[in-house]
C-alpha cells in the first residue's frame, strides 16, 4: 500500500441544481488509489458514490456541476484539462464499467462496431486489426464463438455477456485504472461471481488499479484492499479492508456490517439501521447520521465531525473517537 498514488481525489465537491434546491451529492471527498490497488466505495443508494466516480471521469449529468477540488491522475489534475486531453484519457488510461449492461451499449450498433471504437481512436489500429483485437478480447473474457458474437446486436446477448463486453471495452487499451460502478448489481448471483473473477484476473494480468463502487459488502470483502464508506455525500470512515471488518469504528459502518446476514447464523430478525438517508437538499449543520445514530451526543447536532485518522491509514468522522475534551 506504500506504492505511489495513481489517482488522488482532493476535497471533491459536486452539486446538483434541482427544483428542490442545491443537492450536495459529493461533499468534500478526499481519497487516493495506489498503483495496483483496489479501492471500494460502499454506501446506500443515493449516498454519492456513483457521482464520485462519474465526477472523476467528468461524466456527470448536465444538472450537476463539479464545484471544487482536484482529481490528480498520474500527477495531472483532470479538472484543469481541456476536453481534448480528457478524451485522450477516457477509455485509454481510465476504463469505465457501468451498472446496467443492458442499456449501456448502443442498441443500433453491433458489438464489434462498438468494441473497435476506442481501439481505433486511442491505439490508432486499422479497422481490420481492431476487429482482430476485439475478437481476442471476447475470447479472453471467456465468451465462445467470438466471430459470431462480434456481429451481434446488444439485445441478442444476456446481461452477463454484455457486462463482459463492457469490461472488454474498458480494458481494450490497457488502462492504468478501471472504474467499475456497481458492475454486478444488475446481474444474477452466479454471474456476479464470474464477473468479479474476471475483474480480479484482469487486475493481475494488466497490473491495473481498480476503483469499485458497490453496496454489497460481500463484494468488498472479496475484492478490496482499501475501503471507503460514504454516507449522505461524505466519507464517514475509510481504512484497509481487514481493519474495517475487524475494527469498524463509525456507528454507520458497524450498522452496515451487522445488517449483513451471515451464512450459518440464524437470527430471529435481520438487523436494520432505523430511519432514512437525509434529504441531500435540506442538510442541517448536524452530523448527517445523527438522527439515526444510537450514540448521539449533544455536539453531534451542532457540527458535522471532521474526518480524523485514528490509526495508520484508518480515518473516521465521528465525535466518539475525538479527544476527551470534545466529549
Amino acid at each position: 500500500m506504500l506504492s505511489e498514488a495513481l489517482l488522488e481525489v482532493k476535497n471533491l465537491e459536486t452539486n446538483f441544481y434541482t427544483e428542490e434546491g442545491v443537492v450536495k451529492a459529493v461533499n468534500n471527498v478526499s481519497f487516493s488509489i495506489g498503483e495496483q490497488e483496489t479501492v471500494c466505495i460502499v454506501g446506500e443508494s443515493g449516498c454519492g458514490k456513483s457521482i464520485t466516480s462519474l465526477s472523476i471521469m467528468q461524466l456527470i449529468p448536465e444538472s450537476g456541476k463539479i464545484e471544487n477540488g482536484e482529481v490528480n491522475f498520474a500527477g495531472r489534475n483532470l479538472l484543469e484539462m481541456s476536453k481534448k486531453e480528457i478524451n485522450r484519457l477516457r477509455g485509454n488510461d481510465i476504463g469505465m464499467i457501468f451498472q446496467e449492461p443492458m442499456t449501456s451499449l448502443n442498441p443500433v450498433y453491433t458489438i464489434g462496431q462498438q468494441m473497435i471504437e476506442p481501439l481505433q481512436e486511442h491505439l490508432l489500429l486499422s479497422r481490420k486489426d481492431a476487429y482482430k483485437k476485439a475478437q481476442e478480447l471476447i475470447t479472453l473474457l471467456g465468451i465462445p464463438n467470438s466471430e459470431k458474437i462480434i456481429n451481434m446486436y446488444p439485445h441478442e446477448l444476456s446481461g452477463g455477456m454484455l457486462q463482459r463486453i463492457m469490461i472488454g471495452i474498458a480494458i481494450s487499451c490497457n488502462p492504468r485504472l478501471i472504474i467499475a460502478d456497481e458492475p454486478t448489481t444488475a446481474l444474477d448471483v452466479t454471474i456476479q461471481a464470474q464477473i468479479l473473477d474476471i475483474l480480479r484476473d484482469i487486475k493481475k494480468e494488466l497490473n491495473t488499479s481498480i476503483l469499485l463502487i458497490t453496496h454489497d459488502l460481500g463484494v468488498v470483502a472479496e475484492m478490496a484492499d482499501y475501503v471507503i464508506v460514504m454516507y449522505a455525500g461524505k466519507i464517514v470512515e475509510r481504512g484497509p479492508v481487514m481493519e474495517m471488518y475487524t475494527n469498524p469504528q463509525h456507528p454507520y459502518t458497524k450498522g452496515l456490517l451487522k445488517a449483513k446476514p451471515l451464512i450459518g447464523e440464524r437470527k430471529e430478525s435481520l438487523f436494520t439501521i432505523a430511519g432514512q438517508v437525509p434529504n441531500l437538499a435540506e442538510l442541517s449543520d448536524s452530523c448527517y447520521f445523527a438522527d439515526r445514530c444510537e450514540h448521539r451526543m449533544d455536539i453531534c447536532l451542532k457540527k458535522h465531525p471532521e474526518l480524523k485518522e485514528t490509526s495508520a491509514n484508518h480515518s473516521v468522522s465521528c465525535y466518539l473517537y475525538e479527544g476527551e475534551a470534545v466529549r
Binding site: 443515493g46 444538472s63 441531500l280
Partner: protein, 307 residues
C-alpha cells in the same frame, strides 16, 4: 428524496392525497414557465374580449351603414369598417365567440368520444378493441382537410340553415379529432391495467364501469389535459380554414375564418388590409398561445423532464 416521502404518505391514504399534490406541483411548475403564463393571460384576455367586449361596443353587430363603408381604422372605428359599414372590431369580438366556442365544444366532444372508446377498447381488448381501432385507423387514413371538405359539401347539399351550421361543424371537427385521442387513451389504459392498483380492483371485485370511470380514466387525465389543449388549437385552425373556404360557418354569422374571406376579393385584399389582417392575426395569436400553454402543461406534468 421527495418521492420517498410521497410514497410513505401515499401508503396511508392511497387515493385522495395523490391527485391534489400532483395538480399543485403542476401549477407550481407551470407558474415558473413565463411563456406559458403569458399565453394563459392572453387567452383569458381573448375570452373576455370576445364574450364581454361586445357589451362595451357602441356598434350593434349587424347594423349596416353604407355611408360609413370601407373606412380605414380611426378613433371611432379602431379597426375600420367593412363593405357594409359594420365595425370590424365588434365583428371580430362576436366572431371570437363563435370560433372559441366551436374550438372548445368540438374538443369536449372529441375528448368524450375518444376517451370513452379508447378506454373501452383498451379495457376489453379482443373484438371490441379490434373494431374500434380499425375504425380509428380508417378515419385517420383520410387526410383531415379533404375529409372536412367532403363533410362541408354534404352540409351545403343538405341546405343546413346558417345558424345550425356551427353545431354541425363542431360534430364534424370531433369526427376528425377523436381517433387520435382514442388511440392515445387506449395506449395509456393498456399500460395502466398492468399496474398493481388495477390488480387490487380485481381483488376487490369492482364492476367494470367503476374500474373504467373511477380508476382508469382519472389516471389518464393529465395526458388528456395536454392533448385537449392542443386539440382546441387544431380545431380553431380547421374551423377557420373551412370557413375561409365558405364551407364552415357562413355569413351573416361571423367567425374569424369567414371574416378573412374578404381577402378573396382583390380590391379588399390590396387596398383594405384592415379587413383581413386583424382576424388572421387573432387566429394566429390565439393558436400560438394555446400551443405554448399546452406545451407548458406537458412539461409541468411530465416528471421525467424535471431537472
Amino acid at each position: 428524496m421527495e418521492t420517498v416521502k410521497q410514497l410513505i404518505y401515499k401508503e396511508k391514504k392511497p387515493v385522495k392525497v395523490k391527485s391534489p399534490s400532483l395538480w399543485k406541483q403542476t401549477y407550481r411548475r407551470l407558474k415558473k414557465n413565463k411563456l406559458a403564463m403569458i399565453s394563459l393571460f392572453f387567452l383569458i384576455f381573448m375570452f373576455l374580449l370576445s364574450f364581454v367586449g361586445p357589451y362595451f361596443s357602441p356598434y350593434i353587430l349587424d347594423r349596416t351603414d353604407i355611408a360609413y363603408a370601407n373606412r380605414p381604422p380611426s378613433a371611432s372605428h379602431w379597426l375600420g369598417t367593412d363593405n357594409y359599414g359594420r365595425d370590424v372590431l365588434t365583428r371580430l369580438m362576436m366572431a371570437g365567440q363563435i370560433s372559441l366556442t366551436i374550438g372548445l365544444a368540438s374538443m369536449f366532444l372529441s375528448i368524450v368520444i375518444g376517451a370513452f372508446l379508447g378506454a373501452v377498447s383498451g379495457f376489453y381488448r379482443g373484438v371490441v378493441d379490434l373494431v374500434i381501432m380499425r375504425l380509428a385507423d380508417i378515419l385517420m387514413s383520410i387526410p383531415g382537410l379533404p375529409l372536412l371538405l367532403i363533410m362541408g359539401a354534404i352540409l351545403s347539399e343538405w341546405k343546413v340553415p346558417s345558424e345550425y351550421r356551427l353545431y354541425i361543424i363542431m360534430i364534424m371537427l370531433s369526427v376528425v379529432g377523436w381517433p387520435a385521442l382514442a388511440r392515445l387513451v387506449r395506449g395509456q389504459i393498456l399500460s395502466l391495467r398492468e399496474q398493481p392498483f388495477m390488480q387490487a380492483t380485481e381483488v376487490l371485485g369492482l364492476s367494470d364501469r367503476r374500474k373504467i370511470f373511477h380508476h382508469l380514466i382519472p389516471n389518464t387525465l393529465p395526458l388528456l389535459l395536454v392533448v385537449a389543449t392542443l386539440n382546441v388549437a387544431g380545431s380553431i385552425l380547421s374551423e377557420s380554414a373551412l370557413s375561409f373556404l365558405g364551407l364552415g360557418v357562413v355569413p351573416p354569422t361571423p367567425s374569424w375564418g369567414n371574416m378573412m374571406d374578404a381577402a378573396n376579393n382583390y380590391m379588399d385584399f390590396r387596398k383594405r388590409p384592415w379587413l383581413w389582417i386583424p382576424p388572421g392575426l387573432t387566429i394566429f395569436l390565439t393558436v400560438v398561445s394555446i400551443n405554448l400553454l399546452g406545451d407548458g402543461l406537458r412539461d409541468a406534468l411530465d416528471p421525467k423532464m424535471k431537472r
